[in-house]
């Protein structure tokens, strides 16, 4: 499923960026450029070849890890994205962990205390936070914790002088590997606000998901059996039910990663986080369409890879799943 999906996505991206009525070359150069300049630019970008040939050239390049060159900086797009990608991965993982923590604990507690304050508050939180734009929550945090209280930095990934030696590109991990504690603290201080904003937005979906699946589990026979054996409620919730509810939760959570990445584009822009989200926005601002196309292709690749990973993890966690 995943491989054809990737091709369809590529085709779609290609269609959007090359065939839709808006002409990328025209909008790159502005309306008043003379015809000869437009023709030359078209030729330079390979846009004058037959459309099918262009697609195959593009896909062929993609498989060799070649996304073409940026129309603006003339650097290979793959290198540029490669430098930005770790920042996005770090932010996404951090946000995911926060969403997971809020979602699982609050969801499990809400199931345990059905219709009590913790459950009702959880339902209100889920509906409310779903309506909050991630960039607004980010700005609120910036104003509250950055401008008013002056606790945390509100932009960037790390203070320039503390940049750790890059191994994986994930600053939190790199600074731990090299045992660079000041860098670790600084990177952590920078990631808390964007990570929290991103994580909280997604947590509403996790919370509802965990709660509804756990409620379903609690009506199953194995829970009744566990209760009859006198097992503590706490253990029934966290060990028996949560474990069994985990496969459907995992599947949805994996799919939410796509949402998390969309949220990352907005979060990165809000916090000047130097990942592929702010790269994409910057490239759109400069009308650098080859780079835009490359970035979106990478998004498609990430979505497909995540889908495959979710399937594999499901098969590992649940022995009933076979492919």
């Amino acid at each position: 499923m995943a491989i054809p999906m990737f091709f369809i996505l590529l085709l779609l991206i290609f269609f959007v960026l090359r065939i839709l009525p808006g002409d990328p070359v025209m909008s790159m150069l502005g309306g008043k450029a003379p015809m000869s300049v437009i023709e030359q630019k078209r030729h330079e970008l390979g846009y004058d070849k037959p459309i099918l040939e262009q697609f195959f050239i593009y896909v062929g390049g993609l498989f060799r890890g070649d996304l073409g060159r940026s129309a603006l900086t003339k650097h290979p797009i793959a290198d540029e994205i490669g430098r930005k990608l770790p920042a996005t991965i770090e932010l996404t993982i951090f946000g995911f962990i926060i969403a997971l923590a809020i979602g699982i604990f609050w969801g499990a507690e809400a199931t345990r205390h059905h219709n009590e304050p913790v459950d009702v508050a959880g339902r209100f939180y889920a509906i409310f936070i779903y309506s909050v734009p991630v960039f607004w929550l980010g700005m609120l945090f910036q104003w509250l914790f950055g401008v008013q209280l002056r606790w945390l930095p509100i932009a960037g990934r790390i203070s320039p002088l503390l940049r750790p030696e890059e191994i994986t590109g994930l600053f939190l991990l790199d600074s731990l590997i090299t045992w660079n504690i000041p860098a670790f603290k600084d990177a952590l201080a920078h990631i808390i606000l964007p990570g929290l904003a991103l994580g909280m937005i997604i947590s509403s979906i996790f919370l509802r998901m965990v709660r509804s699946n756990m409620v379903l589990m609690l009506s199953k026979d194995f829970v009744k059996a566990a209760r009859a054996r006198g097992i503590k409620e706490r253990s029934i919730i966290y060990r028996h039910s949560l474990k069994n509810a985990f496969v459907p939760i995992m599947t949805v959570m994996g799919l939410q990663l796509a949402l998390l990445m969309a949220g990352a584009v907005l979060t990165e822009t809000t916090f000047s986080w130097p990942g592929i989200g702010s790269y994409l926005v910057e490239k759109i601002r400069y009308r650098d369409f080859p780079a835009v196309q490359g970035t979106i292709a990478i998004f498609a690749l990430l979505v497909v890879v995540i889908n495959i990973l979710v399937d594999i993890i499901n098969a590992l966690v649940d022995p009933r799943v076979r492919y």
Binding site: L9, L17, L20, S27, Y130, P133, S212, V292
Partner: protein
Amino acid sequence: MKKEWSPSYRLGKALSRVFKNKSGLMAFIGLAILVTYIIFAVFAPYIAPYDPTVKSGPAYSPPTKDHWFGTTNLGYDVLSRIIYGARIALLIAFLAVAVAAAIGIPLGLLSGYIGGTFDRILSMIMDAVYSFPGLVLAIAIAAVLGPGIINVALSIAVIYAPTYFRVIRNQVSSIKDDLFVEAARAIGARDRTILLKYILPNVLPSVIVVLSMNLADAIMTEAGLSFLGLGIAPPTPDWGYDLSNGQRFLLLNYWWMIIFPGMSIITVVLGFSLFSEGANEYLNPNVGETRR
């Protein structure tokens, strides 16, 4: 006349039934919020205290008696911009959802009814679009099409069309062999008639809840696009643009430029979600616990 027949009695009965359960109340609150914003949008010139695109006071004024929500860096009245901003937000959301439904529903009908390879290919395309981060796709399309109400609405419509397609297609393929369809075929009804007169009325109700939920998402996506500078060209009042404009002055502690536009996005999205949530549980009481 018997008491039970009087209109006011029946209205009271119906209302008390709606409010007896929480979902009815939720739907009502959501609807109240939505009606407020629709009134804002329609009657903006009569409600807004100032012209939203004309300097109406000192720049950077915090909330005062004259400017309840303060003014922007150009001296525009924030409250007036919020009231006028409802126009763009609602207009684009309704347009986008209408286009998405107009693409998704017919394709879903055909795909479910015809089946076979056609169905498999179309489903795969729709699933691919569905699984892709919607905002990223909308960003790409909006970037190519350029600014403008129609263009932004189209970019948002593309990402929601698969939702309608999936809902309709699955329902059609599950009822297309039902007895009433076979009966229609047996008396010689043409495919067109079967699809439009027999199947469509049966699958359409399921779209209502999706519609309301999508309106909420569409408003959110529009705000995101205009926050990134891909929405309507300034100075047209637009909540997302106002937020990104306000962020530039955050360090100077001009909080009113971000708090109020943000609250308006939140309340209108909340209105749509409460309405769809409440309406869904009210209409299908059995699925409430297991949804999502």
